[in-house]
């Protein structure tokens, strides 16, 4: 906001002051502090990303490169080996199954189910939420009630019933979990769209005669996706935990197939004598979910969501 300089005026002192470069903001933080903040900000993103990278590499690529021992059949002669035994990084369980291999394949299962669930839930939930908020009126009222019903309905029951009725399998579990993640994404998408609906660029788009689907695709989706994606990372962690709970209750993955929830459930039976069988998968689960949550937080910080 430079003021025009009155030409040839006697009061030169004032204009000079006004045209000078704006004085720097009172420096509350030193440049060193600023640098530290920037480093902290990138660490908050890259630490969880690298942890996730290591986990994903170990769970999906490592078993292809290197032949791990079978996660289901062990040699009974090797039963109950402590961690760091030769050939068995994390030791073996009471029937001789290699625990490292079991956890690797278990993590693979958990991640596959979580990602599948979240993608289905996100796609359908977004569609419902955006439609409800965009259409408004009775469509919104009906769709919102449906979402309310799904939220008030205990997800656990549905999941357990589906695994009973269709038989326990990875795919059925994914469907059942997705069904319950729909209303959560639906509400988030609806809320985000409602905020956008009254913004000037939406009015402009409407006035210029843009078709509804184009408004949704080009104006709404790009604006709500950052929020939804960072939210979905929280959702991934939650789905992994819930999937573990269902395995734990014996309704999820069929027992010989490895999963982190199964590992915790099996370790629990000998908890008093060998607590490490519970602790190792629990800590693995914790690290995985913490990395996902931190990644979500870092993305939210970067994208300035909420």
């Amino acid at each position: 906001m430079a003021l025009p300089i009155p030409e040839g005026s006697a009061t030169t002192a004032l204009p000079t002051l006004a045209t000078a470069a704006p004085p720097p903001l009172p420096s509350l933080v030193s440049s060193r502090q600023l640098r530290m903040q920037r480093i902290g900000r990138s660490l908050r993103l890259w630490i969880p990303v690298s942890i996730l990278g290591v986990i994903i590499f170990t769970a999906f690529i490592w078993p292809l490169v290197y032949t791990l021992p079978s996660p289901t059949n062990g040699n009974i002669l090797d039963a109950g080996l402590p961690p760091f035994s030769p050939g068995h990084l994390l030791g073996t369980d009471p029937v001789g199954v290699d625990l490292f291999s079991y956890y690797v394949y278990g993590t693979q299962t958990s991640l596959e189910i979580a990602v599948g669930t979240t993608i289905i839930g996100m796609a359908i939930g977004c569609a419902i939420g955006v439609t409800a908020a965009f259409a408004g009126g009775w469509v919104d009222a009906v769709l919102s009630r449906v979402l309310d019903i799904l939220i008030a309905f205990p997800a656990l029951i549905l999941v357990l019933v589906v695994s009973y009725a269709l038989g326990p399998s990875k795919l059925h579990l994914t469907y059942a979990l997705a069904f319950f993640s729909i209303p959560v994404f639906g509400r988030v998408a609806r809320g985000a769209t409602l905020v956008l609906r009254s913004s000037p660029f939406m009015t402009a788009a409407r006035l210029s005669g843009t078709r509804n689907w184009r408004i949704i695709a080009r104006h709404i989706m790009p604006n709500i996706l950052p929020g939804i994606i960072s939210f979905s990372l929280l959702g991934l962690g939650l789905v992994i935990i819930i999937e573990g709970a269902i395995d734990f209750l014996g309704q999820g993955i069929e027992p010989p197939q490895p999963s982190l929830g199964q590992a915790i459930a099996q370790g629990q039976t000998t908890m008093t004598a060998t607590p490490e069988y519970v602790l190792m998968p629990s800590i693995g689960l914790l690290i995985l979910v913490i990395a996902l949550n931190m990644f979500g937080d870092a993305l939210r910080e970067r994208w300035g969501v909420q």
């Binding site: 919102s144 019903i149 309905f153 656990l156 357990l160 962690g237 935990i241 573990g244 519970v278 949550n293």
Partner: protein, 344 residues
């Protein structure tokens, strides 16, 4: 949460006429009415959905009651006597009418579901209340300490703890608690099956289950409350006014900021009540707490229709009640906020 976006700030002079109109048309009471009306289709939908999903399962009620040696004819006769051979809508209608009369039916083991709920529900409610109260009190203390100096030591520690609480699976955390406090230290029982009759034995038996449920809640509440407090301390005019008046920082934080942040916290607590169902069911199963969460899991494993329906209804009521409570607290406690007339 969508409701919050529809709030209207009421402006206008606080004249006598205005006040009288406000009492007569009490927006809070109108809100109660509207919310209760909106809750009816939700509750009805939940029962119908549960009934429909459960009816896809093979019907084994008669077989279970008669034993494995029952003949086909006996099973068919009992099915007929119980009305289980009727079409879905007839069965649902009979059940629904009975529920409206306050009768939740008879469970697979020939017990009244009403009696079952009456004996088990209090335990679950005590457990939930215990977990909630401890989580809220601790969250307030930790959040205030953290918000006192953002990015300070206390803040960083609280962030780390709440991140762990947010990410820890309740069942895994429960096992860690059992290993440490029940097995190694022996302070609490591993199994909370018998609660005893004194408050002390109740407290002892329910501490570990409540801690397992409460840790996650504590983490969520701390994060939200801390964020809200920090934002208020930086933005709100009344905070600046209070500081300018020379009110001590602690007092500003507790009397001015915390009071207003409590509304956010209450909303979150209300909205979260329903999500506690799953956690309760698993934790009660792990500790064999005789509550309705464990009953629910047993019911599902035994295909016990009426019992599951009854418990789902209770949990749905809890969810709806929680949402209602959240809305009301917002409308009644915070005079800056009044709800608009549009429904959501």
């Amino acid at each position: 949460m969508a409701l919050v976006q529809q709030v209207q700030l009421q402006s206008g002079p606080p004249g006598a006429a205005n006040r009288a109109r406000r009492v007569a048309g009490s927006p809070a009471w109108r809100l109660v009415g509207r919310r209760l009306l909106a809750a009816i289709p939700v509750l009805w939908g939940v029962t119908l959905l549960t009934y429909a999903i459960m009816s896809t399962l093979p019907n084994t009620t008669a077989q279970a009651q008669l034993g494995l040696n029952a003949t086909q004819a006996q099973v068919a006769a009992l099915n007929h006597a119980l009305g289980l051979d009727q079409p879905f809508w007839t069965r649902y209608w009979h059940w629904f009418v009975a529920v409206l009369h306050g009768n939740l039916g008879t469970s697979i083991s020939n017990q009244s579901v009403n009696a079952e709920l009456a004996s088990k529900l209090p335990v679950t409610l005590v457990l939930l209340a215990y977990a909630l109260v401890v989580a809220v009190v601790l969250a307030i203390i930790v959040a205030v300490l953290a918000a006192r100096k953002p990015n300070g030591i206390a803040d960083r520690i609280s962030l780390a703890i709440s991140m762990i609480g947010l990410s820890a699976a309740p069942y895994a955390f429960a096992f860690v608690l059992i290993i440490v406090f029940a097995v190694k230290l022996g302070w609490f029982p591993v199994i909370s099956g018998s609660l005893g009759s004194t408050p002390m034995s109740y407290f002892k038996a329910l501490t570990l289950p409540a801690a397992s449920i409460g840790f996650g809640l504590f983490a969520i509440y701390t994060r939200i409350l801390r964020a809200d407090l920090v934002e208020q301390m930086q933005r709100e005019d009344y905070i600046v006014t209070a500081k300018a008046k020379g009110v001590p920082p602690w007092r500003v934080l507790i009397r001015h900021a915390l009071r207003n942040s409590m509304f956010t916290l209450i909303t979150i607590i209300g909205l979260n009540l329903g999500a506690l169902v799953g956690a309760t069911a698993i934790i009660e199963t792990i500790f064999s707490v005789p509550g309705i969460g464990q009953d629910l899991i047993n019911g599902i494993q035994n295909h016990d229709f009426p019992l599951i329906e009854g418990i789902v209804l209770v949990f749905a009521l809890l969810t709806v009640f929680g949402n209602l409570l959240a809305d009301l607290m917002y409308a009644v406690l915070d005079p800056r906020i009044r709800y608009g007339t549009s429904n959501s």
